[in-house]
Amino acid sequence: MSLGAKNELEKKETANKAAVAETCPKMFVYFSELQGRALIDSRGRTVGKIDDLKVKLGELFPKVTSLVVRRRRLKKLSALDWAEVENFNGEVISLKAEAENRFSPLEVGREELLLRADLLDKQVVDTSGAKIERVNDIHLLTANKELRIVHVDFGIRGILRRLGWIKAVDSFINWLFAYQYPEKIVSWKYVQPLASDPKANLKLNVTVRKLHDLHPSDLADILEDLNQANRSSVFKTLDLQTAAETLQEVDPKIQMSLIEATPEELVTDILEEMEPDEAKDFLAELPEERMKKLLRRMEKPYRENVEELLKYEEGTAGSIMTKDFIALDRDTTIAQAIEEFKNVFHPLETVAYLYVTDEKKRLVGVVTVRQLLICNTQEPLKKLMNPYLVKIRTEDPVEQAADLFNKYKLLALPVVDQENVIQGIITLQDIVETRTKEL
């Protein structure tokens, strides 16, 4: 290809690009820049000022569906469908012919959000940093005549922009330090809005899903930082498993306030989902009557587990043990044992060991999961179990358990009663938790 021809081609391409850009301009605009903008009708007259924008949630980057307009000072807000916009070039919004007659009263449905009223200046959860942030501005993208939320501004620049100080501050800082304060914007996919009026509307419930990607410990931190009303409205939307795991992690004071605001059926469902020792700890904090009421509502197997744990005195091995363990008869084959593992429907606190019992349920040995995986599947457990095991009695003090963990480098410790019948296990995690609580 000759040089001339190549130049020719490049020229053509840039021309093409320019044409494309002209037909569908693609650009970013901040919500704060749109607020208060005049709305021009097809004959060039101003019909009102933009007060707010309504978006429909659900898509990854939600689309603006309506303009919320103040047509005259001190008059009520009215809405106008975004489809009535003839042209928007980032500066001026002009309307289609006769659009000024198609205003309607403002209504906000489920899964709809007003940018100013529900989002701007409000607290949201930034799931990328697992933190609560305040919205300083909203970054919108216009493309194909649509306007979509793409980013949220949490930074100081957002505040300065809205104050109208951005240019002054920028040039000052640049003059002084040759530095520009960085933007702090986060993609909408990591932003979880919270209900602005948690008591009255639950419209955000469906979309609180974004929070479910967070680790329960992070979620617990976020709940602690939220105000009471938002806290319980978010908590109620969590699925049972997440709710249970999160509840275990939050500060006891906040546990109380969450439970106070949650219906009793839901509380018992969550309790059933919790690890029995955690559920026990939680119930033990409640006033006697409340505890009994909740216990009565729980289903039998869960209730019995918790009630049993409640019998043990504080500070004994029995009081911190969990009922989440697998104990099998010594004549069980390895194949059957593996099958048992598969059938346990809830996640165990630890899967390190399998305990072996005799016909009277007395503890006689232990098998590690590693052994299960590598040995002949037709062998009974008694053939490969280790009969010399470390154990502790339910009434022994927690310190003794901690010493055993320390000495034998265990992952879990079986707890037996006076007849040597296995009652539960203490996991390394349990010990760490009681130790950190003491500190």
């Binding site: 305040r134 300083n136 809205r162 009255a200 105000n227 004071k253």
Partner: protein, 410 residues
């Protein structure tokens, strides 16, 4: 009553000392003691009447703060940000920072002047106390020290005893209470604004609401909080009244116009005799340190809450730079200003309270708009009587401020 019973009585007081009572006790800070002492020593019992309407306004306003805290679960700056946007918030917060900074300076002025009685120079006492206060919060030991501060507030009882021992003219006091008088001189106008500003300080509304939110009080238990607020407001006004009338009966009669702590201390002479200086110094020091440990902290909290910055003393400096930065700046700059040579300590304390009084109406307007918002408060919006009384307070304060500024210029 044996010692054990008495101890139990103290414990009971602590158990019921809710946010309202704590706020009120912090309210009688260095600026408060200085302003009340000056009111009594300059004008006798002439301005005593003003404490009655001030008490009513205080109860009404504090009740609104507590109610907003319980119902919305949010702090005042949080609500201002969400309802008035960032522009308004930034300017309100700037005004609040400056006002509170004035109060912080006043607290260190209190520390300096109280320890000067024991001839500790301010160049020693102020840096040490600033560091002590800063450490209290950064090390997270504030909660345990709060109780000590709170007990030490029993010091105010000495004013009541001293006031009775000084045998004031009760008839004249009664007359002053029922027949208000004000001569519209700049001195009296300024003093009235100062009295309002020190008793109903803007920072108190933020602090009270934040503590109520922190306590997670359910709406159904709100009546306890209201009682707590009413008791607190009543106690603070009674103490204020006794400081004024004690100073009137002792200093005003003797022709002393308070300008230093050692002069103000003479008001306690009928009770403590020659120990009055030591007693007064102790009380002023406690009041100053108590407020100095709360004010910068509460200011940093409310600013960061409104701006959406990380807060909390359990965070590292790098996690919450604005919070720690503002907190440290308020303390060390406030203390630094007191170290300037020849700064008139008592005037600093008094003037900061006048600024409180001038800024107060603006904060009250925001509170009124918020507390009447049905979407926010539901059935707990203000009743008519509340709006009338707080409306009158706002209007009167604005008129007083304008009159004061006009007479000052004229």
């Amino acid at each position: 009553m044996n010692l054990k019973q008495r101890w139990k009585g103290f414990l009971f007081f602590l158990a019921i000392a809710g946010p309202g009572i704590i706020t009120s006790n912090v309210d009688n800070d260095a600026g408060g003691i200085a302003t009340y002492s000056m009111a009594g020593s300059f004008f006798g019992n002439r301005l005593l009447w003003s404490l009655l309407p001030i008490m009513i306004a205080l109860i009404i306003i504090q009740e609104m703060s507590a109610r907003m805290g319980v119902v919305t679960g949010k702090g005042l700056s949080d609500l201002i940000r969400e309802h008035f946007g960032v522009k308004v918030t930034v300017y309100v917060l700037l005004a609040v920072i400056l006002t509170n900074f004035g109060n912080v300076i006043a607290e260190f002025a209190g520390v300096a002047s109280s320890l000067e009685i024991f001839s500790v120079p301010k160049y020693v006492s102020v840096p040490l106390s600033a560091f002590f206060v800063w450490l209290l919060v950064v090390k997270g030991t504030y909660r345990s020290v709060e109780k000590v501060f709170l007990y030490a507030c029993l010091f105010y009882i000495t004013y009541i005893i001293s006031g009775i021992l000084a045998k004031p003219d009760w008839a004249e006091i009664g007359k002053s209470l029922v027949r208000p008088q004000l001569d519209f001189s700049p001195g009296q106008l300024g003093m009235i604004i100062g009295l309002v500003g020190t008793t109903i300080a803007p920072w108190m509304q933020f602090y009270l609401q934040a503590s109520v939110v922190e306590k997670n009080i359910p709406v159904k238990d709100y009546k306890h909080s209201r009682l707590d607020v009413i008791i607190g407001s009543f106690v603070v006004t009674v103490v204020a009244g006794f400081i004024v009338l004690t100073c009137a009966a002792t200093l005003f009669k003797a022709g002393v116009r308070v300008d230093t702590a050692s002069e103000a201390a003479l008001a306690l002479k009928p009770l403590a005799g020659k120990y009055c200086s030591a007693l007064f110094a102790f009380g002023l020091l406690n009041a100053s340190l108590f407020a100095a440990s709360i004010l910068p902290l509460s200011t940093s909290f409310l600013v960061c809450e409104g701006m959406g910055w990380e807060t909390g003393v359990n965070k590292k400096f790098s996690e919450a730079p604005q919070f720690y930065g503002l907190y440290s700046l308020l303390i060390f700059l406030g203390a630094g200003i007191i170290l300037l040579p020849k700064i008139p300590l008592f005037s600093v304390m008094y003037i900061s309270q006048i600024i409180n009084g001038i800024v107060l109406p603006a904060i009250l307007i925001f509170m009124l708009v918020l507390v009447n918002n049905k979407k926010l408060m539901g059935e707990h919006v203000n009743k008519k009587g509340y709006n009338i009384i707080s409306g009158i307070t706002i209007v009167v304060l604005i008129i007083l401020t304008v009159a004061y500024l006009v007479t000052l210029v004229a």
